[in-house]
Amino acid sequence: MVGAGPAGLAAAETAARLGAAVVILDENAAPGGQIWRGPSPEAAGLLDLARRAGARWFGGCTVFDADPEGRLWVTDVSGMQSTRIGFERLVLATGARERFLPFPGWTLPGVVGAGGLQALVKGGAGVEEQRVVVAGSGPLLLAVGAFLAEQGAEVACVCEQAPLGRLGRFISASPNLALGAARLRLALGSSPYRFGTWVAEACGRDRLESVVVTDGRRRWRERCDWLACGYGLVPNLELARLLGCKTKGDAVVTDSDLQTTIPGVFAAGEALGIGGVECALVEGSMAGSAAAGKAPSRELRERREGLRRASVRMADAFALRPEVLSLASPETILCRCEDVRIEQVEHARSYREAKLLTRLGMGPCQGRICGIASQTLFGWTPDRVRPPLIPVSVRCLGEEEE
C-alpha cells in the first residue's frame, strides 16, 4: 500500500485480515494522510488493526520509482538511502494535494495553503490571536476555518469563490453533508463565510499585512497575519502515471474492483478523483479486498457508487469561476523554484514549450505546484512522468541490482 491516509490504511487492514502479507509505506513519518494529521486516534486505530492482522508499517518512506513488474524503490526523507521492495499486488492510495493559483502577492511570507496552515498548526505552529483570512474553494476551507477558530485564531473571513446559488442546490441535495457543514459553520463562530468572493491580491512589505477581497463588483481590504488559500484538491497521479496506469482528467481509471489498467495495480481514495474521507475508506476496503484476491462486497460497491455520485455533484458545485483564473498580472510569479513570471509563458502553446524556454517546473519541486497551476490557467496537458519522482542522490539512483 502506498499511502497511509484513510484509503491506504483501510486497504491495509482489509487485505491483512484476508491473509495477505501487507506492507504500508508513507512519506510522512506518521500514519493518517492529509486529514488525520498529528496525533490521530482514527489513524492509530486503523493502523493498529492492520498490524494485528500482520501488516507492517514504514513511515518516512517515499516511493521514487516503480515498475509494473513488481518493484518499488523507496527512499527516506533525506533522499540519501534507498531500498527496493517487491510486490505482487499494489494499492495506490497516494491522495491529493492542494491547488494553488497565482495572484499578485501570493509568494509573500504569510501566504500559505489552506490545508498547509492546518498542517503547520497541527505540527506545532501557534496561531492564537492571529488574524487569518481563509480563501479559495472547496469544503476544506470551512474545515480549516473551523479548526483555526478552535485553535484560537481570529478568522477574519472565509472566502469561497463558488456562488451561493450553486452551493445551495448542492447542499440541499446532500442532507448528510449539510449536517457536517452546519457543524463546521457553528465552530467557525461569528466569522463570516462569504460565497462568491475571492482574494484578488495579497499585500505587505516583507510579509503579509493585508489582502484585497472582491466579489467581482466591490473590492475591500482585510488586515491579516495569514492568508490560508487553496483552490480545491488535485489527485497525486505521478506514481500511477509512472507505472503506466491510464488516467482520465484528474483521476486514475479503474474497473469496478478498483484495478487500474495495469494488472495487479489497484487504486483507492483521492487518486480516483476527489471524493472525501468516507469515500476513501470505502474504496480502501474495496481495493484491499480485491488485492487480497476477494471481490469487494456488493454493499461496499453500492456505497461507493453513492459517494462517487455525490463527489461529482460537489465538483460541479465548486467549479472554478473564470475570474480566479485571471487574477495574476504579467509580473506575477508562476514558478517559485525558478522565478518564472506569467508574462514569460503566457504566449507559449504548451507546457513543454514553456518549460523549454523558461525552466518552468524544472526546479526542485518539479512542477508539483506550478505544473498544476499552469495546467489550470492555460489548459496545458502535463509532461510525461519519469523517475525519480522526488530528488534522490546519485548514490540511490546508482544502486546495483542484485
Partner: protein, 356 residues
Amino acid sequence: MGRTSVDVRVYGAGIVGAACAYFLARAGAEVEVVDSGAPGGGATGAGMGHLVVVEDSPERLTLTSRSLALWRDLLSWIECEALPCGTLWLAENEAEFAHCRAMGDRLADAEVQAELLDERALREAEPALRPGLPGALRVPADWSIYAPKAAARLLETPGIRLRRGDAREWRAEANEPPSVFALGDRTPDLFPDLPIRPRRGHLAIADRRPGLVFHQLVELGYLSRAHASDEASISFNVQPRASGQVLIGSTRDYAGFDSATSRATLAEMCRLAARWVPALADFPIVRAWAGFRPDTADHHPFIGRHASGAWIAAGHEGLGITLAPVTGHLIADLVLGREPIVDPSPYRLDREPTHA
C-alpha cells in the same frame, strides 16, 4: 496578417533548423520556419549543450572548429545560459595520457588552443576528481549552453517567421520556394532513403550546488565509443551549468523511439559519475531523461541536396548543437549559391558511408 513572400522555407525548428534560418535571413532572405511541435523540443531540448571541438577525424576537426568560431560571435549577443567552461579530456592511464598529448598537437596544428595538465595541475584545476589520475588535456575555448534558448533567440531574427505545421505537407513538384529539411531523427519520415537512426542518450541533472566542477569533464574513451563503435556504451561526461547545477551523462544505445529511461542504464551512469567524482554520490538528482541523437551510419551529418530537390541538414548525432552554426552557414551558402564556408563533399547525401 498580410502575407509576405517566402524566399526559403525551413522545416524543423531545432537548433539546426534555427541556425539555417538565421544564416539565410542574415543574407537577406525571407524565411518561413515550420515545426509541428515546440521549437527546440526535439533532440535540441534533450541534449547537453556542450560546444566542443573534436579532432578524431580531419572532417570533424574542421567542422567543429569552424562552428565554434561562429558560436563565439553568436554568443556575444545570444542569451542562452552560456558558460565558457572549457573541456578537460581525462586520461585514466599513461597510454591515454599519451593520446591526450597527441590530441593537443593536432589541435595546435589547427590553431585550437589546448594545454596538457599533469597530475598536479589536474588536481588544482578540478579538486573533486578522484586522486591518482595521470592528467588531462584542457581545451579552454569550449562552452556549455542551453540550446533551446539559443534556438529561440536565433528564430527571433528579423526576416524569420515561425509557423506550426507538418513537413509532410511538402510536395517536391509544387512550385515552392527552396526548402531546407532539418528534421533530425525524423528525416526518414520524409526521405526514407536517408538512413538516420535515433541513438538514445540518458542525462540526469543535479540540484544547484555550485563549485564542485569547473570544466566539462569527459573521459577520453568517450570519443571512440561515440564515433568508432555502434555498441551500447556509457561514458563519464559531466558538465557545470551556468545555473550552478551539474549535468551528468552520457549513454548511447539504439532503442527505437521509446524515450522512457532505463533504470539499469541510469544506474550505471550514476555509478560511473561517482567513481570519477566521488562527492557527486551525495548530490540530489532532480530529474533524469532520455533523448535521441540523430545518427548516420558513419556518424557524420548529411548536409546537401537531395535527389528530390530538397536541401537536407540532419544527422548530427551527438554534435548537433556544436555544429548548428557551421551547418546553417553552409546551407545558406549552398542555397544562395555563395562560396561554401567549408568543403561540403564529406557531407553529401550520396556518399559511401565510411566509418570514421
